[in-house]
Symmetry: C2
Subunit: 360 residues, 2 copies
């Protein structure tokens, strides 16, 4: 049976002040009515029904997750007591789903990405699901790069980027993984035509990923064993706490994918993907007026263009501004030149370092 | 005896959203602790004591005026039931002060200007007060222009701008008044060397200005007669309302000064004057950090320069911004490029025109 595992851990400090420690990015709506995590579940419609959608999230985010996803059964929300990066979260969910269904196939998706072509996304997942039935296969979704982005990891594969645009998506062997590159390297990757963005979306059978974890991360394998044999173990807070405390803090890429030579496949995809990494990305995805302004809330613009306003209750008036991002919240206001969008995370660091934690 | 008449009528829509209809510019503090109207009274220290300071202000502003100027006796606050521009306000105060003291000399000052050199300001006023003792003399203070400003009226005088910098200020005859000029004309005025800015500051005996009003504005003279003979008439609401209702809506320049040929004198002054006409002027007057930022409130700046933040209760964070003006209030937020400071009054017009009067 096919299941979805949604990874909803992130903090999203690049969306301060709208995202907070207590309200990370997946809970925000970007342009539309629905939030990113709601869109992530909606997007699976026709492929994985909500009763087979599982969400791994921090204990403190359980309430908001439950509120936003009423269609996902309560028992499908798996609480992480400690943030330990993606490998423990994935091993935890895989062990639990294996206990429920030893024949389970998992579609693993971040909770806070955007996809604009859902039908194409499904075609890509279909190809990945099919490939994942090969014993031991670990399948990732690779995004055809649109520019030499330095903020993503890349993977080189035995195919070409043009394959992402073929009518029927296909899986190809992955040759190598590459960490976030510098600009020159990123340009080489894009020019080479056989590098894709590593988007953190995976498809595998529960037994395949658990076997790989056992091979490459024996410590993690040991920590997560209890959930493999007992479907009720995830409900025991002490057991879950022990498991996460005993787990290394490591990403699934570094823990498994980069090591599982010969087992790793990629389906190249081109379906309007964005990881919505900062306010600039939100602007790109937003509807704009003729002057290129994207606004929400009660906003008045005079002689202003390419501005982006995420309003709150108050009236916001911009006069003579260009390329400004304004994010208004009850206790904090951010005014940002869009080119500096990546620096917002520095603000959060500054707040922490200066005893202003109440704003984080 | 010497009295001060402070004209505190203005609306100051160019300071929206900090100034409102219910809270005009004179009640704001610019940079310092004290508000503009408080500074105006403080600045008279050593020349006119608070018990001889009179304030003409709108009925709706009486409470705030009383709150900000506790040292000014209650009975010195003269309420204007209707805004009728400067001529009626001045004639009203002059008539009342004549009833109190037929020998009164009045220093008439706007409530919302800034002066940085108070000692020089006093020297200029001293010269004007002396000149005002000549029977019928109407004396104005003219500001040595620093640039071809198109937002002010000018006056041409029988002297040179250099006279403003003489050790002992002197009065000169005024030759002509000029309305707000276009830029080319303003440049000619400044180049000519015998034009001054008309700053709306006057010194005259009560009988001199009342005689001039009688000569050039008989209607206004008739309207304000009751206050000339009865010091208690200003307390009678109906009498005051009738007087203002019967008064023309006209400035003292247009009503009297431009007509009183041969009676008008000017003392040229250079004492760091500003009428603080818009947010740009406030920035110019504010203390700045090394990056040219002027901030009040809880503000964090990253990679930002020449920004101006008038904060409120909330945290305000600017990242990568230059030359931005941010004015935060409880119900409205303004973000302005400083070069567009003059356009703020258009925002107020827009609010009126669009049924958003609650924000005005």
């Amino acid at each position: 049976m096919l299941y979805a595992v949604i990874l909803a851990g992130g903090v999203g400090s690049r969306f301060w002040p709208q995202s907070r420690q207590s309200f990370p990015k997946q809970f925000l709506s970007i342009g539309g009515e629905r939030t990113l995590i709601q869109d992530t579940v909606d997007r699976l419609d026709g492929l994985v029904p909500p009763e087979r959608v599982f969400v791994v999230t921090g204990t403190r985010y359980l309430d908001e997750t439950r509120r936003q996803l009423p269609e996902v059964p309560e028992e499908n929300l798996l609480a992480e007591p400690l943030a330990r990066n993606t490998a423990p979260a994935i091993a935890f969910a895989a062990a639990h789903l294996y206990a429920r269904d030893p024949d389970a196939t998992l579609v693993v998706l971040p909770a806070d990405h955007v996809v604009t072509s859902v039908s194409r996304f499904h075609e890509v997942l279909d190809a990945a699901i099919e490939q994942a039935q090969t014993p031991g296969a670990l399948v990732t979704i690779g995004i055809a790069p649109t520019h030499p982005e330095t903020g993503y990891g890349y993977l080189q594969f035995d195919g070409t980027v043009a394959d992402a645009f073929e009518e029927t998506p296909t899986a190809f062997p992955v040759l190598t993984f590459a960490e976030k590159p510098d600009l020159a390297t990123a340009e080489n990757f894009v020019d080479s035509g056989d590098f894709l963005w590593n988007a953190g979306m995976f498809v595998w059978r529960a037994d395949s990923i658990l076997d790989a974890v056992a091979s490459y991360q024996p410590e993690l394998d040991r920590a997560m064993r209890p959930f493999r044999t007992d479907v009720r173990a995830v409900l025991d807070v002490a057991t879950v706490e022990d498991a996460f405390a005993a787990s290394p803090k490591i990403s699934i890429d570094y823990a498994v994918m980069e090591r599982a030579e010969g087992q790793v496949f990629v389906v190249p995809g081109a379906f309007g993907w964005s990881d919505v990494g900062d306010w600039r990305a939100v602007y790109t995805l937003s509807e704009k007026d003729e002057q290129g302004n994207a606004v929400r809330g009660r906003v008045i613009l005079q002689d202003s263009s390419r501005c982006h306003v995420a309003g709150n209750d108050r009236l916001v008036v911009l006069v003579g501004m260009n390329d400004a991002v304004v994010v208004d919240t009850d206790d904090a206001l951010l005014i940002l030149h869009r080119e500096a969008a990546q620096q917002v995370k520095n603000v959060v660091d500054y707040l922490h370092a200066n005893g202003l934690d109440q704003y984080v």
